[in-house]
């Protein structure tokens, strides 16, 4: 459990919008709350009143005294975020959850991102580069419009892009590229739609390559109270995305159990 999570009310510093669907929100917290790549925070407009009621779980895109998140518009809460203007106060609860595990010495990190799932991987990539490792990244979306921040990722990784319609990069899916890139000394970090992560986890398991996923589920609290974020655990029972994740070894999740609801990334409304 994160030892120093806290709640702050911080004004929006800026919003950078990439079309209607994707928005980077940066908050002026004024001090570093110590978020590590892979951790998340619960975000809610401090002036939302009774609705939308619940805060939205969002991975950190960056940390420090001005942390940022990448928002995909999927419902009422994210619509409000997409329209927020600088100065609007937000309640931020974080840092929460388990960060990405430390990269293993001697293994080459391969980052596999789908759509808005790029956010925690960009944070990870920046840390890797700062530590002297330029990662390989595979970034996929349905079309070229579903690749927010691809330019940022290209600057700090050896990037392979895929789109299902071929509008950018290779036509196909991230798994097509991953199959070709996998080698014994690789380890994979992935975040994206559930079906994508399940496919990535399956490939890694078959090739005996470590795979760390960042999961997303609906969540009311973010710190182990509401119990609204269960994932089917390998071996039975449930694990909770908020306290045992969001970053977790892919082998700990049962991706094929009937009670594993398929979720698109950016599902928190």
């Amino acid at each position: 459990m994160a030892p120093h999570r806290s709640q702050v009310v911080a004004p929006l510093l800026r919003r950078e919008s990439m079309g209607d669907a994707y928005h980077v929100l940066t908050f002026d917290v004024g001090r570093d709350l110590g978020a590590a790549p892979g951790q998340f925070l619960m975000v809610r407009g401090a002036e939302w009143g009774d609705a939308p009621l619940l805060p939205r779980p969002m991975s950190y895109l960056s940390g420090g005294p001005t942390p940022s998140i990448l928002v995909k518009v999927v419902g009422e809460g994210t619509t409000r975020m997409a329209r927020a203007e600088p100065g609007e106060p937000f309640s931020l609860v974080g840092p929460l959850g388990v960060p990405w595990r430390a990269p293993s010495p001697g293994r080459r990190p391969v980052l596999v991102a789908g759509g808005v799932g790029v956010a925690p991987l960009l944070f990870l990539a920046r840390g890797l580069v700062a530590a002297g490792t330029r990662p390989v990244a595979i970034y996929g979306g349905r079309t070229k419009k579903d690749l927010p921040l691809d330019d940022d990722l290209a600057l700090i990784s050896d990037l392979h892009v895929t789109t299902e319609d071929g509008s950018r990069g290779q036509r196909g899916r991230v798994t097509d590229v991953l199959e070709a890139l996998l080698a014994e000394d690789v380890e994979v970090f992935t975040c994206g739609p559930d079906r994508m992560m399940a496919a990535v986890a399956d490939i890694c398991a078959r090739r005996d390559v470590p795979c760390e996923v960042s999961v997303e589920t609906p969540m009311a609290c973010g710190y182990g109270v509401c119990l609204g974020c269960p994932l089917p655990a390998a071996g039975g029972g449930y694990i909770y995305a908020c306290t045992e994740g969001p970053c977790i070894d892919a082998r700990r999740i049962d991706w094929n159990r009937p009670d594993h609801p398929p979720r698109a990334a950016g599902r928190a409304s």
């Binding site: 009621l53 609290c221 109270v225 269960p230 409304s269």
Partner: protein, 302 residues
């Protein structure tokens, strides 16, 4: 003199603000946000005789100014609670109300006996109103005879103050309340959630795997307040008000209606410091008005 003190039968609370079962874990989860010992008390996640894994996902979804949950009483079980959670709560000076759940009277009695022997448990809250489990729960809370039977059995099993949490789905909630009072309940908690449903128009399926879920949050408040009003008029034991309380003003509404204390529930998800803010707001209100919680209780009835 403590302007905020209130009395639930034999149990004196330093203030009237508690946290609702299922929205506050086992109390310690909120320790990073504020000192939970400052509250009037906490109601634990519903404890069962054995640990429970809970329902399959999805378990929660948001609805207008409200949410649905079908957690299925996932909990660590009464033994793990006594071993791992309670000693820390006791040491911290937290007033602990243990919410207990079972699908048979025998199991209710066993849990009550186990908790009755533990220092640091200040009261039991009998959950006979959970809408999200297939056996027990709400079935006990809908029928005056069954509710009285469970209440009486637990009453005999433990000397602790006994609260019974009312279901708004009882056909005649006043009859259930009177039956529990007659069977020895020290207080009533009103209300638990009411079953709701939502359907995803894209998948054409219910959003919750359980199909229905307990409806909670600000949208529930007027219904809860009305029921608390009715119960306060019908029984002579204290009523603890719960249902959509987010701010101190909401809490004072329940006090004015006659509730002797309140529980903050879903609001803790929207704001982890909600219960503390409700408490601070009530304190400031009493200060401004030159009044006390004891004086506020039931004032709208006079």
């Amino acid at each position: 003199m403590n302007r905020l003190a209130t009395r639930i039968g034999a149990l004196e609370l330093k203030n009237p603000v508690l946290t609702a079962s299922g929205t506050f874990g086992y109390g310690l989860e909120y320790d990073d946000f504020f000192d939970v010992a400052t509250l009037g008390g906490i109601c634990t996640k519903g404890l069962s005789r054995e640990p429970r894994a809970g329902n399959p996902p999805e378990r929660i979804c948001e609805t207008p100014a409200s949410m649905l949950n079908a957690i299925g009483l996932a909990n660590v079980g009464v033994e793990a609670f006594c071993r791992d959670k309670l000693p820390v709560l006791r040491e911290r000076g937290v007033t602990v109300v243990a919410n207990i759940f079972a699908s048979s009277t025998d199991d209710f009695v066993a849990i009550a006996e186990r908790l009755g022997g533990e220092p640091g448990v200040h009261a039991l809250e009998l959950n006979v109103s959970c809408p999200n489990v297939s056996h027990g729960g709400i079935e006990f809370g809908k029928d005056p005879k069954l509710a009285a039977q469970v209440t009486a059995a637990v009453r005999r099993a433990a000397k602790l103050p006994l609260w019974v949490k009312m279901s708004p789905e009882a056909g005649d909630i006043v009859a259930v309340a009177k039956a529990c009072e007659g069977a020895g309940a020290d207080a009533l908690t009103a209300i638990n959630t009411i079953r709701g449903m939502t359907i995803d128009v894209d998948t054409e399926r219910q959003r919750l795997a359980n199909r229905t879920g307990g409806f909670s949050g600000p949208a529930l408040r007027p219904i809860a307040l009305r029921i608390v009003w009715d119960l306060v008029g019908a029984v002579s034991i204290p009523v603890i008000g719960i249902g959509g309380i987010s701010t101190w003003r909401d809490a004072v509404e329940f006090l004015l209606a006659g509730a002797s204390a309140v529980q903050v529930g879903t609001a803790s998800f929207a704001d982890p410091c909600a219960a503390k803010k409700v408490l601070d707001g009530i304190a400031a209100h009493c200060e401004r008005q030159g009044t006390s919680v004891a004086e506020l209780i039931g004032r709208a009835r006079r």
